[in-house]
């Protein structure tokens, strides 16, 4: 009886996801262009946030390197944009980020807590200032022009990356591999003693999450047409996914998705009219979330849902 319930619930979720996906995939046919552009932005933030949560959610290591991986993708797009077809560039951009992720992961193996946070943040600033210096002193030019794509193409590419990412995250979280990461987050020494290869698990996951951020950067570069180091390696890109994921609930599959979608919508709504109030509200929401909602929005919803179920139970 119970098993049947669980199976039916899972297949129900599957059907809902499938339906939503079809609606999203066909949206350029009926939705106005503005909606498609907005959806692209939303998917970009979702991809960055979910990839951030893929590593940082279960392990508890807070990475601020997102902007570095995203920026590497953007620069790959700018350098190779004219010579190669876009799908190939996306894969290359992702792979370059992946390799950077492997390198950073291998270097920071022994770093815990704040040391890891500081290192990852330093990485963004290092790349930013190095490339700035390089462009000013060596190549003598600042910024690059990226060949543009149509809005619909950008949208579909982002959607594809999003679907692949969600599938990857889903299968990781349900596998032994996901359990291993969870155990690292709970108690790293104990995980190592029970036979989890802590190092490999951490480094590979970090690199995989970097792959998706790089791929997202490669795609978004084609929408911005002009990029320079300050746009590509904008530290805000490192902070936003942390906030979005924590607001939504970093420990759940859908938490980061909901957090990113709500915040991007709020940004779209507020940033043109009240840019400073937007960031102010952002900060306040973050503080309130950390103080009062340790499991994020999804945690609150689950708690409410449980209470409703209990009330029903009490009635019958």
């Amino acid at each position: 009886m119970d098993i049947a319930k669980v199976v039916s619930k899972r297949s129900f979720m599957l059907w809902v996801s499938f339906l939503v996906l079809i609606l999203l995939a066909t949206s350029p046919l009926y939705a106005p262009e503005y909606t498609v552009i907005l959806l692209t932005s939303i998917f970009m933030y979702i991809v960055i946030t979910v990839s951030w949560a893929m590593f940082s959610g279960p392990t508890g290591y807070i990475s601020l390197a997102s902007a570095a991986f995203f920026g590497v993708g953007i620069y790959t797009s700018a350098i190779l944009g004219k010579t190669l077809p876009l799908p190939l560039i996306i894969i290359i951009g992702g792979l370059v980020s992946f390799c950077l992720g492997l390198l950073v992961g291998a270097l920071t193996l022994r770093l815990r807590g704040v040391y890891f946070i500081m290192f990852t943040f330093g990485l963004v600033e290092l790349l930013l200032h190095f490339i700035l210096w390089w462009e000013v002193n060596i190549t003598g030019t600042t910024g690059r022009v990226v060949p543009t794509m149509s809005n619909t193409t950008v949208y579909y590419l982002m959607l594809i990356i999003f679907v692949i990412l969600m599938l990857t995250t889903y299968f990781i979280s349900r596998s032994r591999y996901g359990l291993a990461m969870q155990s690292i987050g709970e108690y790293e020494e104990a995980a190592a003693h029970t036979g989890v290869n802590v190092t490999t698990v951490k480094v590979i996951t970090f690199a995989v999450s970097a792959f998706f951020m790089g791929a997202a950067g490669t795609i978004m570069a084609t929408r911005w047409t002009y990029i320079d180091p300050r746009i590509a390696f904008n530290p805000t890109i490192s902070f936003l996914p942390v906030m979005m994921a924590i607001f939504g609930g970093a420990g759940h599959l859908y938490g980061p998705v909901i957090g990113a979608a709500l915040f991007t919508y709020l940004e779209e709504f507020l940033i043109t009219r009240f840019p400073y109030y937007y960031m102010l509200i952002f900060g306040i929401i973050l503080v309130v979330t950390i103080l009062y909602l340790p499991d994020g929005l999804v945690g609150v919803i689950q708690k409410l849902w449980k209470r409703i179920l209990e009330m029903k139970h009490a009635d019958t």
């Binding site: 807070i62 770093l111 200032h129 900060g283």
Partner: protein
């Protein structure tokens, strides 16, 4: 040649004085109060802008506003710790959890303080001219305000060191840094001491901000750069070691000055390279345990 070396060395010391001051503040907040305050630079920015307002509107001497900015920022820091961070500390299961949560809360503060400042003062770059005449120093010329900045940075650092080393409260702070719960058992009012430490950290940032506003341009988004420099310095000096932070500040200032002399524009890159090598090779820093 000697003139040039002197030139680079003194420029480095002047830069280092500011670095040392702001790093000591951050070191106090992290080493004792266990908050890696990413919003540290935002307190510096507040100090700088309050001094700017006092100077341009009321004509108050920036050296006098040291006595105004410091206490104002101290009170803000103290209240923040008594409310937000204390409630986070009480709800955290372990010190490690508190470190993570307080760091994220400081992120929120960055955005709150920065954007409130933009709403009050606008997003433009500002500056004023105070003691900007040149002083001849062994053949090398320096702006008087930078020399005054260096002097004040050293005086504030020494006074603070004496306070920690000699006073009763300083002893309580050092005890809390070593073991908060044992210090609590020995009769130290631990919540009060931690909040005072956070406040003192903010105070140093405020003073640093005032000194910075005397010789550099200021803008509401300037905080992050100073936060990062303070972070690099406290890692260089050893996390939690206050004398280490003070020395580390001068070391980094000298490095910055030397790199700027050889290849202008690469000083920040040099800082990050040092920082990352340190983190990987010797995360305990120069004077760390």
């Amino acid at each position: 040649m000697i003139e040039r070396i002197l030139d680079v060395a003194i420029a480095g010391l002047m830069l280092g004085g500011i670095y040392a001051l702001i790093a000591v503040g951050l070191s106090l907040q992290y080493g004792v109060a266990r908050v890696l305050n990413i919003a540290h630079g935002e307190f510096i920015m507040l100090g700088a802008f309050i001094s700017w307002s006092l100077y341009t509107i009321f004509g108050i001497n920036p050296l006098v506003s040291l006595a105004i900015c410091g206490p104002v920022v101290f009170v803000i820091g103290f209240i923040l710790y008594r409310t937000m961070y204390t409630s986070l500390r009480n709800s955290s299961a372990s010190p490690a959890v508190f470190e993570g949560k307080s760091l994220l809360a400081s992120f929120g503060l960055v955005f709150i303080i920065q954007n409130v400042a933009i709403l009050i003062w606008g997003a433009d770059i500002k500056g004023y001219s105070y003691l900007a005449f040149p002083v001849n120093f062994g053949g090398a010329k320096f702006a008087a305000n930078r020399l005054v900045t260096l002097g004040f940075a050293i005086i504030i650092g020494l006074v603070f060191y004496l306070f920690l080393a000699r006073s009763r409260l300083g002893k309580a702070i050092r005890a809390a840094a070593q073991d908060p719960s044992a210090a609590g058992l020995m009769g130290v009012n631990i919540n009060q001491v931690l909040a005072l430490c956070f406040g003192f950290g903010a105070l140093m940032a405020g003073l640093g901000g005032t000194l910075i506003s005397m010789s550099y341009q200021i803008e509401p988004t300037m905080g992050m750069e100073y936060t990062i420099i303070a972070l690099i310095v406290i890692v260089l000096g050893g996390l939690g070691s206050i004398p280490g932070s003070f020395i580390g500040g001068f070391v980094l200032g000298l490095v910055g000055s030397i790199v700027t002399y050889i290849q202008p524009g690469l000083s920040l890159v040099a800082y990050y390279v040092i920082f990352m090598i340190l983190l990987v090779a010797k995360p305990t820093g120069i004077l760390g345990k």
